[in-house]
Amino acid sequence: MNTCIDIEGEKDLELCPSSPYVCLDNVSLSLSGKSILKDVSFSVPATGIISLIGPSGAGKSSLLRCVTLLYANWQGAISIDGIATSAWRGGEDDLRRHIGLIAQKPAVFPASIYQNVIFGLSRKERKQDQSELVEQCLHQAALWDEVKDRLHSPANTLSVGQQQRLCLARALVLKPKVLLLDEPTASLDPRSKQLIEASLHDLARHMPVLCVTHDLEQAQRLQGQVIFMCDGKIIEIAAVNDFFQHPERLEAREFLRWSVCDCD
């Protein structure tokens, strides 16, 4: 399978309207002898939101970690902006600066809000005044209004929802080429969810956003595309509306049926 996903909802190997920005080709991963990902291949265009859904243990989070090169023992090929990760000139650390990863549990560093936002910048950049950049990124993460008067307060005094948006701002400071989110709103209140989703919609106009979620309603709200994974494989790729109204594969239909039962 090597499918190019288009934000408008068309799926076509030959007629991909925008050049694929992130490409995974036969990516496999085994951890402790257990196969986590099995020959996963897909391409992501330069803009738009893609929701990764599937049951627990399907390999969604592992897939994000493979793209971020946080696992060392994966096989296959991953390229970003046409450059294979193995051939990236600056090495793995430099590559990661171009990939924004937001984990499920926000991890703020024991420093001020301001220092957290600029954490990923180089030493030289951190020594310069980055107030404008910090403000811009906090705006993008929908957090500026809540923290503008206490930028130098410890970051761990923020609520979990605010910490998650701070992590988003911290990733955005590096101007990533792609944004990966691993259940970013799993433990957040509805307002924080709404704010993060609004930010993702804005950001997806400029970069590809790949979001793992167990919240099917959220996947529908995010629009864009859906990749349904099960047992380490990609089962179905479709536009959101198509997937939820007319899932093609039996596994997807079963998953949606169970999920609806769970919701009830």
Binding site: D93, K105, G120, R170
Partner: protein, 276 residues
Amino acid sequence: MKVFLSLLALPALLLPLACFLYVIIQALPALNWELIVGSDTTGNLFGDAPNAGHGLWSQISGSLLMMALACLLAAPIALSIALFHALWASARQQRLLMMLLQALQGIPPIVYGLCGLIVLVHLLHWGICLAAGGVILAVVILPLLSSNAIHALQRIPVEQTESAKALGLTSAGIIGRVWLPAAWPGMLTGLLLAMARALSETAPVLFTATVFSGVTWPDSIFSPVTSLQTHIFYLAQEGSNQHAVDVAWASATILLGLVVCFSLSARFLRRYEESV
């Protein structure tokens, strides 16, 4: 059941307290400020003037010097071991390392002292000196320091490390900007406990570093020193000389005070660490 278990636990609480009080009471006749800050006049203990003033400053400074040297030598090695454990060791190597550290902690200190005597004092011709005592004490406290450093690093949330990696930080950046700032209270706690342990070890320094008298301040690290631990050991053998025994109790009180200071500091630091 609760009362029964409480009664069983009571001796564990009261016994150290009773020992501490007994040592202080025994030390009272000799304990005074002059004894702590006075320079060494060990000869007076056995001379014609048993009540003449003399001090333990040389012993206190000798003990503290050896402790400081041991910590200076052991701390960077312990940190390196902890970083190797966290960064590069495979799961098997990690298990092996922890097993080794536990085994090293179980070795009787006198065995370390004997090894120091043979290798450092005789084979390397260092002689009885501060350096030999510091090195042997460093070996004694290394497992404790390493284990504490490893546990301090393990307490850092995985998410913080992953976030730092995802931001493109190099291994050095992660160590310097995430791990050490987060782990320093735990590591400092371990260091304080190790200092207390180094102060309380007698056998290793008895064989390698200390003499009873004739030393005030070492000329170099290859000069012998005198220490509180060995001073108590020598004085305790002078059972017939009441003044010597009193000074032994006073030395024990000062040593106990120093050890308790380091242990309590470690305890307060751990409480601070847990509250952050």
